[in-house]
């Protein structure tokens, strides 16, 4: 049993270290992502916490970075405020900034359920 316990403890420790490192790097990335999200003007259509507005909801259940890159770089042809979005080139938002934005959106907590909000009960 001893080797198993040791291995489990080691795994937990390593996992903890990795998680801690991940959180440590995610926090500044998320903070920077929020700054970029506001500076570039993503919030104008998507809301400051990605809740949606004129544009789609981005959080929670944030799309993976690869999918987000397709949307942001490609946009939608024939874009107007009512549908789709314009393409954002790297001169406006770099790849690393976009990754931080994705991290920021993914870090946002899910909202309460409607029945848990008194004002939204029928």
């Amino acid at each position: 049993m001893k080797p198993l316990l040791l291995a489990t403890a080691l795994l937990c420790t390593l996992t903890g270290v990795v998680h801690a490192q991940s959180s440590k790097s995610a926090r500044p990335a998320a903070a920077n992502g929020k700054t970029v999200f506001m500076r570039v003007g993503c919030y104008t259509c998507h809301g400051t916490v990605g809740q949606g507005g004129a544009g789609a909801r981005l959080a929670p259940n944030t799309m993976p970075l690869a999918a987000m890159q397709v949307w942001v770089r490609g946009g939608s042809p024939g874009w107007s405020i009512a549908r789709g979005m314009p393409a954002f080139p790297t001169t406006v938002i770099s790849d690393s900034e976009l990754a931080d934005v994705q991290t920021y959106l993914a870090s946002l907590p899910p909202p309460p359920k409607p029945d848990d909000i008194a004002l939204l009960r029928p």
């Binding site: 003007g41 104008t44 259509c45 400051t48 916490v49 004129a54 309460p112 359920k113 029928p122």
Partner: protein, 615 residues
């Protein structure tokens, strides 16, 4: 002379003929109201109006003009004061004792007209709006265009010095026009520049009649400033007015529309300005329930209760679309043609259009166009549908209605879920703002007089006609603040609580409306939707710059309303309106709304500045 509101006659649903007559009955009730006002109006004599009539009776013509306006049931005069209608203004104050019409002071002609727009949409009839012929009309035009595009009766009187010999100096010259109504002719249904007092009498009642006949719209009448001071001919009486009954669809067309609707498997009703009156809302419900068809409310009036199970539906999947007093349905018609579906239009706009301004919309290739007022046509249409519906179809209708109701429930649940996103965000989400308001309004007699935010229509329970009057007809910025004040004034006599969710950019166009609300004790809760930008334009700038592969760094230059931030509470307070804010924390909203409603219930306006999410 205060008038009680006229309750429309109820529909006798058992009789086709009686049903068909109901639209006329509603109009007759309104006519009776005007006729009663006319009976009560003072008259000097009972001869026919005539340009040659009589000699001096010792009182100024503007007194007589007031009698005419009084006879038309004009309860108020909204105006920014001006010398060119001073005679009329003096008569309202000193001859009529500032009652019916009562003078309401405005700080801009755009405010006067937009207030009249909001008032008419609640009360169903116009007030008197007075303005200078040149500089006043020029200020008034955008608000007049909103009313024109929105089919709202606005009654505009323009003071002018017609006779050049009477223009006493430079200002009189620049404040006079040869044809004052030329400026507004493209955005009014009718205008005139009467050459005599008798001519004025006829034109004044004719203008009212035209404004009130669907499709309703603004009218303009010039009153010469010197004519206001002339002596009233002794034998001049106030002409009677009989507002025409609204045009109903002919029986053959109505029967054909009914036949197509009864045979349809999946009909959908689109309504934009169909419910002109409370009775119209009831008829819309009866139509939908008879057919068990979904109703898409395009939102320029409350055409259908928001929580009714039949609210909703997809025109893109319908085999028959019935469009009532609709806006642009060209896409609906194009898609329908591709799948061999039919589109039927009943609208009074088929009867009247002007050329210049393009509110005519894209041409829609419909299968039937009935040139008639939808509300007046509904009783006959409902009865005809009932007559043509057998038991088998009724069962099919029932099953169809159950499906629409299920979709409606899902739509409502989706709206509740979507409202949770950003619930605790700061700035405040527009969903949170809306529901904080609803929590304190839902047990009151309320009226959501204006607002750009769509959450109330998704989540509140609107089931009375006066609870919603739509948006700016021409989407002119500067409508919401004054139209809210006008609508709130119309609601005041009923003791209703008027509430607006007020866009910040719109408020900055016409903030003087707040002073009018304070000066005349008009109860209105103004809740700012303060996103600190002309936000729509910010998004358009982003689009433009990105299409050109250029920077977004200056996206708020020329579009933002921050730096410095506008303190709307102080703005309101400076004009005598109690206020609180700015509020960015959603948890602080409930208390502010509670305090605001206490003030409004005492008969005063109150403003809450809420810093909100962009949308």
């Amino acid at each position: 002379m205060e008038k009680k509101p006229v309750e429309p006659e109820s529909v006798d649903r058992r009789s086709f003929l009686a049903g068909a007559a109901t639209g006329a009955a509603v109009m007759l009730a309104k006519q009776a109201s005007v006729a009663a006002a006319q009976e009560a109006a003072p008259t000097q004599a009972r001869a026919e109006p005539s340009a040659q009539a009589g000699k001096a009776a010792g009182r100024p013509a503007s007194d007589y003009m007031v009698d005419v306006f009084k006879s038309l049931g004009m309860e108020y005069m909204f105006s920014m004061c001006a010398s060119s209608f001073m005679g009329l203004h003096e008569s309202i104050l000193n001859y009529a004792g500032n009652k019916s019409p009562r003078a309401i002071a405005c700080t801009h002609e755009e405010i006067s007209v937009a207030m009249a727009n909001g008032y008419a949409k609640i009360d169903g009839k116009p007030v008197l709006v007075c303005a200078h012929s040149t500089v006043g009309a020029q200020h008034a035009t955008m608000a007049l265009f909103d009313a024109y595009a929105d089919r709202v009766p606005v009654y505009l009187v323009l003071g002018n010095t017609n006779d050049a010999a009477n223009r006493d100096g430079e200002v009189f010259w620049v404040h006079s026009a040869q044809d004052p109504c030329a400026l507004v002719r493209d955005i009014t249904k009718w205008d005139d520049n009467p050459a005599s007092i008798a001519h004025f009498a006829e034109s004044a009642v004719r203008a009212y009649k035209i404004a009130m006949t669907p499709p309703m719209g603004p009218v303009a009448l010039v009153v010469d400033d010197h004519m206001q001071d002339e002596q009233v001919p002794v034998d001049l009486r106030v002409p009677r007015v009989a507002v025409p009954t609204p045009p109903a669809g002919d029986s053959g067309a109505v029967a054909e529309v009914a036949k197509l609707l009864v045979a349809a498997e999946n009909p959908v009703i689109i309504a934009d300005r169909a419910a002109r009156t409370p009775e119209g809302l009831k008829l819309m419900v009866e139509l939908a329930e008879t057919l068990q068809a979904g109703v898409v409310d395009s939102g320029h009036r409350l055409n259908f209760p928001t929580r009714h199970p039949l609210r909703g539906g997809s025109p893109a999947q319908a085999d028959v679309v019935l469009a009532l007093e609709h806006g642009d349905i060209s896409n609906v018609a194009r898609q329908a043609r591709q799948r061999n579906a039919k589109v039927l239009s009943i609208s009074s706009t088929h009867l009247f259009q002007r050329s210049n301004y393009q509110d005519v919309m894209r041409y829609a290739e419909v299968d039937m166009a009935v040139a008639a007022d939808a509300e007046a046509t509904l009783p006959a249409l409902i009865e005809e549908i009932k007559r043509q519906t057998g038991d088998a179809r009724r069962e099919a209708f029932r099953q169809r209605g159950a499906k629409v109701a299920e979709t409606n429930r899902n739509t409502y649940e989706r709206a509740r879920t979507e409202a949770t996103y950003g619930w605790d965000a700061s700035p405040v989400s527009t969903a949170r703002l809306s529901m904080e308001l609803w929590a304190q309004l839902k047990n009151e007699d309320w009226s959501y007089v204006t607002g750009w935010v769509n959450w109330p229509l998704r989540l509140w329970n609107f089931d009375k006609h006066y609870q919603y009057i739509g948006r700016a007809g021409a989407e002119g910025v500067g409508y919401y603040a004054p139209a809210s004040v006008g609508a709130a004034l119309a609601n005041k006599k009923h003791g209703r609580i008027s509430v607006s969710i007020q866009p910040d950019g719109d408020m900055m166009v016409a903030p003087g409306a707040l002073w009018t609300a304070a000066r005349h004790q008009i109860p209105l809760l103004v809740v700012m939707q303060n996103n600190r930008a002309y936000h729509q334009e910010v998004m358009w700038f982003q689009r433009e710059a990105l299409l050109r592969n250029r920077s977004l760094d200056l996206a708020h230059t020329g579009f933002g309303l921050g730096d410095p931030n506008i303190d709307f509470a102080k703005l309101a307070q400076s004009m005598g309106v109690a206020a609180s804010g700015p509020i960015s924390d959603p948890k602080a909203l409930a208390g502010a709304i509670r305090r605001g409603l206490q003030v409004v219930k005492k008969g005063e306006p109150y403003l809450i500045d809420v810093v909100t999410q962009p949308r």
